[in-house]
Assembly symmetry: C2
Homo-oligomer: 396 residues x 2
Amino acid sequence: MDPSLFRFTVEARAPGALARAGTLWTPHGAIETPVFMPVGTQATVKTLTPRDLVDSAVQILLANAYHLTLRPGAEALREHGGLHQFMGWSRSLLTDSGGFQIFSLANPRRREGAQGSLVKVTDEGVWFTSPIDGSRQFISPERSVDVQTLIGADIIMALDECSRDDNDEEEAERSLRRTHAWLERCVARWHEQESNKHDQPPQALFGIIQGGNSRRLREESARFVTGLDLPGVAVGGESIGYSRGMTATILDWIGPLLPHDRPHYAMGVGDPESFFMVVRRGIDMFDCVLPTRLARHGTLFTRRGRLRLASAAWTADSRPPDSSCNCYTCCSFSRAYLRHLFKAEEALGPHLATVHNVHFCVRLVRDIRSAIVQGRLDEYEQEFLGAYQGGVELTD
Amino acid sequence: MDPSLFRFTVEARAPGALARAGTLWTPHGAIETPVFMPVGTQATVKTLTPRDLVDSAVQILLANAYHLTLRPGAEALREHGGLHQFMGWSRSLLTDSGGFQIFSLANPRRREGAQGSLVKVTDEGVWFTSPIDGSRQFISPERSVDVQTLIGADIIMALDECSRDDNDEEEAERSLRRTHAWLERCVARWHEQESNKHDQPPQALFGIIQGGNSRRLREESARFVTGLDLPGVAVGGESIGYSRGMTATILDWIGPLLPHDRPHYAMGVGDPESFFMVVRRGIDMFDCVLPTRLARHGTLFTRRGRLRLASAAWTADSRPPDSSCNCYTCCSFSRAYLRHLFKAEEALGPHLATVHNVHFCVRLVRDIRSAIVQGRLDEYEQEFLGAYQGGVELTD
């Protein structure tokens, strides 16, 4: 891999915090960090066209190698010239390996649509049953890198075992050992793949810090992953993004151990209040399905808090959802019209809501970056959080 | 009503046919005819934004007063500044009265989602039960004009009784008498509404020719409706658009009786082959849910015939759906990607398919207009129908 194609520079740091404004170059362009990455699991950010994403200044999308391998298939994507070409997206892409999805399959009571008993994890890899056609599938660290090479995203993720947070320390430690062993195998295969490339653009492998809710294991994992000198370092786990408090605690433990000259990615962070929290702790990249999923169910982020479109409060309300927002939805439609679309179960409702939530998150993180560059992160955070009511639902 | 705001001019006629190229002015712009009108029943063309519609050069949309009266309500639309403002559409609008929908409610075996026994038609008007909240609703010719005045489309339709084509001649005649009586009441109320207007833009009322499949009744209805000197004349009925042969026969009967200086609207015509057929018989405007409904189910119109996106034939096909089409979908995506979206049940699939089918129909009718202006309608029809395989499904 030519490392200059994945150069990461830091342009500004917030005084007294780990927060920084940087730029990450990939073969598909420069990404200004911190950056929110919308999720396009199945080669589409649900309801949005690439045009919509460019309109909202999206710089990088996340897709999922687990889903794409099952459908349309990694080899099929390769034949179509890779995922960028397939989905018509010319900016940067990142694929997750699917470790978290296998965790979801194995723990049905925690996540939707799962088939616990059909997942078998060994040191060699994971056997699971395709939810699409019932076929028996095998994924190993090597196969995970291979399929992500075929898919062709700019950034690829190591296969990890995303352990349950209610595991005891012994189980957690066993799981972490496996994750680290898998990471070493991923790195070896990635070097092999990179050195075999001819015309294909290089890809950057990120390792993932695990360790559950144990400080000892998290610190050990941070040192291990950092020591591999990879182009980027990620933080994963059941709590990350899911519990704001635990996410903050874990990032406080590992923040000082992360490499200064590499991008740091927190996997699964997608609510506006957490953006400030993770950026302050040195995180440069984050993704989550929350903004797009909430949108499809009719809940919008606004500068004042969450707005539920189906609420009867908006029946006669001609105001845009968020008067300070310049997205297509807020520039063009009233709360009353959006409410009508959701009440009538019209597909345009989820689309327009998704346009807004993606735009909102991207713009908020861009504003956070500007505040870091201008040396006024504290003021901007106070200003934003002073007006933002978090999970509370707006009624006027 | 200021008639100059609804001026209709004919710029060219096809030799040996009733086909003509014209322009219809409304308070929201000039419409070049013949014109295909996409259907936005509930104040949205399903899955499309107004921006998408403008991109495809859509000139006029159809909405449905029956649906809009039930939700969000005609008075609510008036409070929002009318339907244009509510849905963010600045070009022309037409509302259908809902006669056809009441027919559908009364004849569940013929149409979906219906509650036959709950519709009671009298000379005064129609009682029916709202499928949304079960409330008892009444619509009369006067109320129909009133709600369409509140909704504020540029063109409004008279309330008619859309009778069943398997009625015997006596029933059909009774139904036609009622439709004509209702039309006279609509005209009276429309004059009243127009003369009471202050700031509201004028609206044009179109009458509807009915008469089932009886030549005598169709001719009688054509003379009656034409004799009222309305801004436009429509042709309705169960067969129109539904049976291509019967539509042609009915239009052959009444074509010579239609006023030369007014626009002629065939209600419910939406398949490409029928576009030529109705335009040849003097039709200037037509609408149908077919192109948008087929799209949502994954069937695209192409210059060579219908293409079913979910077909396994496209798994490895990197070609656009229609290589001669310049819509966003055909310019940006392959058959393989669109197939993937439909297989994965992603909302982007129906959206991109709808973008294409609307673009295809609008462009085809614009090309038909150009052919009329250039005096080569016969050649263009032969060229198009020579390549187009109609209902046959493409396999390569």
